[in-house]
């Protein structure tokens, strides 16, 4: 180590690169969210359509006294949690299958898994209408096979549609998260459990599941956040049930010009999502054995 420069400029410079990025993120994300707090106590002159600085509790009181807002927030939380649940149930077998696949399959697997994510939101919504419509793929198949006598109507424009498409949209994120965790599990642990007489399901619940909890948790958070905040899928595919908190915020912001109420509702939604995410995280760390894994990961 002769001649090593006294000042380790690069390592120092490297951490400093965080500053501009952090600044941009604070300016672009944190400040706008902070401004929501400010706007939520402003007043609106609905005759002149101007927003006036004030310290008014009007929007918050409206929010707390209108139960339909809370129904919408509850719906967002439930649809996020439901998507997290369905994607984790479907995602586990897929992720474990990918983890057990030969190496050259894994690269193909990544591309196959990620390509649907690259299709625009609108493309997916559009495609599902063709699949699920009364003259769509599923109904045609069911009719041709004489399984049903008339087209199944509840496939499209119902809560089922929303749940299905939210699952579809978010499945790749969940699979990726669990897959990364599953790759790090020592396969010999599962073999040992099987050799000692554990049935496949027992081995899964007692060995694989606790060891992959960090990946599952990351997937649950991501899917929950993405699905709960989704506006277009419910409104274009959910039919009359498709009203969402997001669409209501959009409405208050655009059509009604009630920015204070829009801000208050957006903040309430964010708070509800955050609290649910914390609760979900808390539940996941309660899994038998999961705490040890997460704790070791931190050490």
């Amino acid at each position: 180590m002769i001649g090593r420069p006294l000042f380790s400029g690069f390592a120092l410079g490297r951490t400093h690169l965080a500053i501009p990025v952090a600044l941009v993120l604070v300016l672009g994300c944190i400040v706008p969210l902070g401004v929501l707090v400010v706007f939520s106590v402003f007043e609106v002159d609905f005759d002149a359509f101007v927003l006036m600085p004030a310290l008014s509790p009007r929007a918050w009181s409206d929010l707390f006294h209108t139960w339909s807002f809370w129904v919408l927030i509850g719906k967002a939380v439930i649809s996020g949690a439901a998507a997290a649940l369905t994607t984790s149930i479907l995602g586990y077998p897929i992720a474990l299958a990918l983890a057990s696949a030969p190496l050259n399959w894994k690269g193909i697997g990544t591309v196959v898994l990620l390509t649907p994510l690259y299709t625009g939101e609108i493309v997916r919504i559009y495609a599902w209408r063709i699949v699920l419509g009364s003259e769509g793929l599923i109904n045609t198949l069911l009719l041709d096979l004489h399984i049903v006598a008339s087209p199944v109507k509840w496939l499209l424009f119902t809560p089922f549609t929303t749940a299905l498409v939210l699952t579809y949209n978010n499945l790749p994120y969940m699979v990726l998260a669990i897959w990364v965790s599953a790759e790090m599990v020592d396969k010999r642990l599962i073999e040992a459990a099987r050799d000692l007489g554990a049935r496949p399901l027992d081995a899964f619940f007692k060995v694989t599941l606790p060891l992959t909890t960090p990946g599952l948790a990351a997937g649950v958070f991501a899917v929950f956040a993405l699905a709960a905040g989704e506006m277009l899928t419910p409104s274009l595919l959910g039919g009359t049930s498709g009203q969402t908190a997001m669409a209501m915020i959009d409405n208050l912001f655009g059509t009604a010009f009630d920015w204070p109420l829009a801000s208050a509702l957006a903040l309430a939604l964010l708070a509800a999502l955050f609290l649910t995410a914390v609760a979900l995280g808390f539940c996941l760390t309660r899994f038998k054995g999961a705490r040890a894994v997460i704790g070791r990961g931190r050490a």
């Binding site: 690069f10 501009p20 969210l33 690269g107 690259y118 299709t119 003259e135 958070f221 912001f253 957006a266």
Partner: protein, 273 residues
């Protein structure tokens, strides 16, 4: 891999590609109605698409917006990843959480809040606002992608370069950057792709700019039309080309690296003096 795993993967692929395949099939179907049974093969929706000037300009707009998004996302992701993977970073957890904010906060809430500020301080919404907002949303993805590669780069290479007299900048440019080529290409293409796919941010911030997704959304609210199918398939095909090219590039770059890795693991003792 056993039979159960293979069946699972086959089912998953079917589920993930079912809507896309149906879309493609109908784009070649010779009928105004998007319903079964199919009526015959036709390229007329693609012909109609080729003659539609509005779609052309929408496509050019989307393309022009996507390039700077890819570039900004890549550079910001590189900077964030360099900081995150440096062992000396303070407030690492806070910085990581900050990077995740654009991913975790619903895009629509973020865009509405940004739109409110912009209209309050009389900034016009348009292409610039759209590019900046989309770049923000891309940062978590590019940072994760570049960090994943950066964390595996041997820090001794930088130390060796520095010991041999390279300046920090030279070491970065000549030693580190070449190892990140494929990750940077991946980050760039993910930015371009997410920008092309975006509709939510465009709805609130595009102003008078009309990217393709916005155009499709306004047409599609009224009725389904087969020429939109053809357009979606065209966009998908182009996206697939971007993905395939960047994947090929990655593999091309990764091959010598893998050989070097193998050589290094084969003779660990001889390699360390």
């Amino acid at each position: 891999m056993n039979r159960f795993a293979a069946a699972t993967l086959a089912l998953a692929t079917t589920f993930l590609y079912l809507p896309i395949v149906v879309l493609a099939v109908f784009s070649f179907n010779d009928s105004d109605l998007m319903a079964f049974p199919l009526t015959g093969f036709s390229l007329r929706w693609y012909e109609e698409l080729a003659g539609n000037a509005a779609f052309h300009s929408g496509f050019v707009t989307s393309f022009l917006v996507a390039q700077p998004v890819g570039l900004i996302g890549m550079v910001a992701g590189l900077m964030a990843a360099l900081a995150l993977t440096s062992p000396k970073l303070k407030f690492r957890l806070a910085f990581a959480a900050l990077i995740l904010v654009p991913f975790l906060v619903p895009k629509s809430v973020l865009s509405i809040a940004q739109a409110m500020i912009m209209s309050r301080i009389h900034l016009e919404r348009g292409a610039v606002a759209l590019i900046l907002a989309q770049s923000l949303v891309v940062i978590p993805f590019t940072t994760a992608l570049i960090s994943a590669v950066l964390i595996r780069v041997d820090p001794r290479l930088d130390e060796a370069a520095r010991d041999l007299g390279a300046t920090p900048w030279q070491s970065f440019r000549l030693v580190l950057l070449p190892q990140l080529n494929s990750a940077l290409a991946g980050a760039y293409s993910i930015g371009v792709i997410l920008s092309l796919a975006d509709l939510t941010i465009s709805m609130f911030l595009a102003g008078r700019t009309q990217p393709l997704s916005l155009m499709v959304a306004s047409e599609f609210r009224h009725d389904l039309r087969p020429d939109l199918n053809a357009m979606q398939v065209t966009v998908l095909a182009l996206t697939a080309v971007i993905v395939a090219l960047s994947e090929l590039y990655r593999r091309h770059r990764a091959r010598p690296q893998r050989l070097a890795d193998r050589a290094a693991t084969a003779e660990p003792i001889e390699a360390a003096p």
